[in-house]
C-alpha cells in the first residue's frame, strides 16, 4: 500500500503508478518577491484537482509554471514522469499539445470568429481544412449548449457565460489529456456557473482527462473536484479529498472554505498590508 503525504505525492521507493502531474519544491520569485516558495503537488491520471487560496497567493503562477508560460526558478515539474522544467523549447511545445487551458477572462482571440477560435490549434498545427474545422466547431459548441449561429460571431458579441463556454470548447476541441481551468466560473451568476461546472465535469469525464482547476467558488470546487489543495504563503498547506475539506484542522483552510471574515488569513493579510 503506497503511503501518501498530505500533498498527494507518492513516497519515493514505493511501487505505484507515476502521477500524471508532479510538482516538487517549485519556487518562483519576481524581483525579490518570493511568490512560490516550494510547491509540492501531484495529480493522478483522470483525477480532478482544485487549487484554492486567497487572491495573489500564486495559483495562476503555479499553472503557468506547469505549462512553461513562466519558467520556475527551481524544483521539478513532471508530466507522466518526464521532466519539463529546463527542457528545450521544442519539447515544451510538444508537451503543451497535451494540455488544454481556459483562462480567467476567456482569452478568446478578438480578431477571429468563434469557429476559428475553437479550432485554432487544429487549423494552425494540424492544418485542418476550413470545412472540417467549421463542422467540428459547430459540433463542439452545440455540445456545450450554444447555438450554431454563434460560430460566425466574434467574441465581443458574446456574453461572459457564452465566452466561457467557447473557451471551454477551444480547450477540449483537440481532446487533450490534461485540462487546466483558471477560475472558470468567476464573474458568472450562480446558475451559469453551475452550468459551466457541469460542462467541465462532462468534458473531463468524456475525454478521460486529468484536470486542475483554480477556483474561489467553494460550491464549484465541491462539484468538480476529487481533490483539493490550498496554497498559502507560497506553499501547499493542505491537500486532501474534497470530502475532507470541511474539517481539515488547518485554521487557514477552514477559514477559506467556510468564507469567514475573521481568522488567520485576515490577520496575515493585515500584517502584510501593515508591512507594505
Amino acid at each position: 500500500m503506497a503511503k501518501k503525504t498530505d500533498t498527494g505525492i507518492t513516497d519515493k521507493g514505493s511501487k505505484t503508478t507515476v502521477p500524471k502531474i508532479e510538482m516538487r519544491d517549485v519556487v518562483k520569485s519576481f524581483g525579490g518577491k518570493h511568490v512560490l516558495k516550494g510547491i509540492d503537488l501531484a495529480v493522478n491520471a483522470e483525477e480532478s484537482l482544485a487549487l484554492i487560496g486567497t487572491s495573489g497567493c500564486g495559483k495562476s503562477i503555479t499553472l503557468k509554471c506547469l505549462l512553461g508560460l513562466i519558467t520556475a526558478d527551481g524544483g521539478s515539474i513532471k508530466v507522466d514522469g518526464t521532466e519539463i522544467l529546463g527542457t528545450d523549447r521544442k519539447t515544451l511545445e510538444g508537451m503543451r499539445r497535451r494540455f488544454g487551458m481556459t483562462f480567467q477572462f476567456g482569452a478568446l482571440f478578438d480578431s477571429l470568429p468563434i469557429w476559428e477560435n475553437v479550432t485554432f490549434r487544429l487549423r494552425q498545427q494540424q492544418k485542418m481544412n476550413r470545412a472540417d474545422a467549421r463542422d467540428l466547431a459547430v459540433d463542439t459548441i452545440t455540445q456545450l449548449g450554444l447555438s450554431r449561429q454563434v460560430t460566425d460571431q466574434y467574441p465581443a458579441e458574446l456574453s461572459g457565460g457564452m465566452q466561457k463556454r467557447v473557451a471551454l470548447a477551444r480547450a477540449i476541441a483537440d481532446k487533450p489529456e490534461i485540462l487546466l481551468f483558471d477560475e472558470p466560473t468567476s464573474g458568472l451568476d450562480p446558475i451559469t456557473g453551475g452550468v459551466i461546472d457541469r460542462l467541465i465535469i462532462d468534458a473531463v469525464k468524456r475525454l478521460g482527462a486529468t484536470a486542475m482547476t483554480i477556483s474561489h467558488d467553494m460550491a464549484s470546487v465541491r462539484r468538480i473536484a476529487d481533490k483539493v489543495a490550498m496554497i498559502h504563503n507560497g506553499v501547499i498547506i493542505w491537500c486532501g479529498s474534497v470530502e475532507k475539506m470541511d474539517d481539515t484542522g488547518v485554521p487557514e483552510v477552514d477559514q477559506f472554505v467556510h468564507g469567514r471574515a475573521e481568522g488567520p488569513l485576515t490577520t496575515a493579510a493585515k500584517e502584510e498590508a501593515r508591512r507594505g
Binding site: 503543451r96 487551458m101 482571440f109 478578438d110 490549434r121 494552425q124
Partner: protein, 257 residues
C-alpha cells in the same frame, strides 16, 4: 553627491537593460520572420492595414507638403532670381526627405499605436499566453507578420506619397505661381536621379521596420491594465518617431557621407 551618482548609475543600468531587451527582441523577431511556418493571413491583414488604409493619411500629408514646399521655395528663390529651380527642389526634397520622413511619422502615429494597443490588449487579457498554450509561437504569429508587412509596405506607400507630393508641387507651381506645365515637368525630371528615389525607399523600409518593431515591442511588454496599454501605445509612437529621425540621419550619412 553619492545619491546623485547613484541616480546616474541607476539610469545608465536601466538604459542598458532596456537596450539589451530591445536587441534580444529584435533578434528574435528577425529570426522568426525568416523561419516557417508563415502566417500568410496575418501578413495579408497587416499589408491591408499598413499599406492600403494608411494611403489617405500619407497621401494628404505629402500632397500638402509638396504644395507648401513649392510656395515656400518660390518665395525664397525669387529673392535671387532662381524661380526655375522650384520644381527641382520640390521633387528632390519630397523623394529624398519629406516623403519618407512624413509618411514614416504619420504611419508611426497610426500603425505603431494600433499595433502596441492590439498586442498590449492581447497581453493583458492573456491572449498571448493562450497562443502559447495552443502551440503557436506569439513572436511568429503576431510579431513576424507585422514586421514583414511594415518593412515591405512603407516603401510602396512612400513611392505613392512621392508622386502625390510632386503632384501637389505641380498644382501650386502651375495654377498658383504660373509656371508653364511642360517646363515644370521637364524641370522635375531633369535633375532627378534614380538614387534619389531609391534612397527614399531604403529609408522607408528602415522606418517601416522600426515602426512595426517598436509597436510590437511595447505592446508585447505592456504593463497590466488599461494604464499599461496606454503607456505602451504612447511609448511605441514616441520611440518610433525618435528612431525615424535618428535613422533618417544615419541612412543619409551612410549613402551620402
Amino acid at each position: 553627491m553619492i545619491g546623485f551618482l547613484q541616480n546616474i548609475g541607476r539610469a545608465a543600468l536601466g538604459f542598458l537593460a532596456a537596450f539589451g531587451r530591445i536587441t534580444l527582441f529584435t533578434a528574435n523577431a528577425v529570426r522568426w520572420t525568416c523561419l516557417p511556418p508563415y502566417y500568410m493571413r496575418q501578413f495579408s491583414r497587416q499589408v491591408l492595414d499598413i499599406g492600403y488604409f494608411s494611403l489617405p493619411v500619407v497621401g494628404l500629408t505629402t500632397l500638402f507638403s509638396g504644395m507648401v514646399l513649392a510656395l515656400q521655395s518660390y518665395t525664397g528663390f525669387a529673392r535671387f532670381s532662381a524661380e526655375d529651380t522650384v520644381a527641382t527642389v520640390v521633387v528632390l526634397s519630397v523623394t529624398r526627405e519629406l516623403g519618407p520622413v512624413l509618411a514614416g511619422l504619420m504611419v508611426a502615429g497610426r500603425i505603431g499605436a494600433s499595433m502596441a494597443a492590439e498586442i498590449g490588449t492581447m497581453r493583458v487579457t492573456d491572449q498571448i499566453d493562450a497562443l502559447d498554450t495552443l502551440s503557436t509561437r506569439p513572436m511568429q504569429y503576431l510579431v513576424a507578420p507585422r514586421i514583414l508587412a511594415g518593412t515591405i509596405c512603407l516603401p510602396f506607400l512612400v513611392l505613392i506619397g512621392d508622386l502625390i507630393g510632386v503632384f501637389g508641387g505641380y498644382i501650386v507651381g502651375v495654377y498658383r505661381l504660373g509656371f508653364n506645365p511642360s517646363i515644370y515637368l521637364s524641370r522635375t525630371l531633369e535633375y532627378l536621379e534614380f538614387s534619389d528615389v531609391t534612397l527614399g525607399l531604403i529609408k522607408a523600409a528602415v522606418f517601416g521596420f522600426l515602426i512595426a518593431l517598436m509597436g510590437c515591442y511595447h505592446g508585447y511588454n505592456s504593463g497590466r491594465g488599461a494604464e499599461g496599454v496606454g503607456r505602451a501605445t504612447t511609448n511605441a509612437v514616441v520611440s518610433s518617431s525618435i528612431l525615424i529621425l535618428i535613422s533618417n540621419y544615419l541612412v543619409t550619412a551612410l549613402f551620402f557621407g
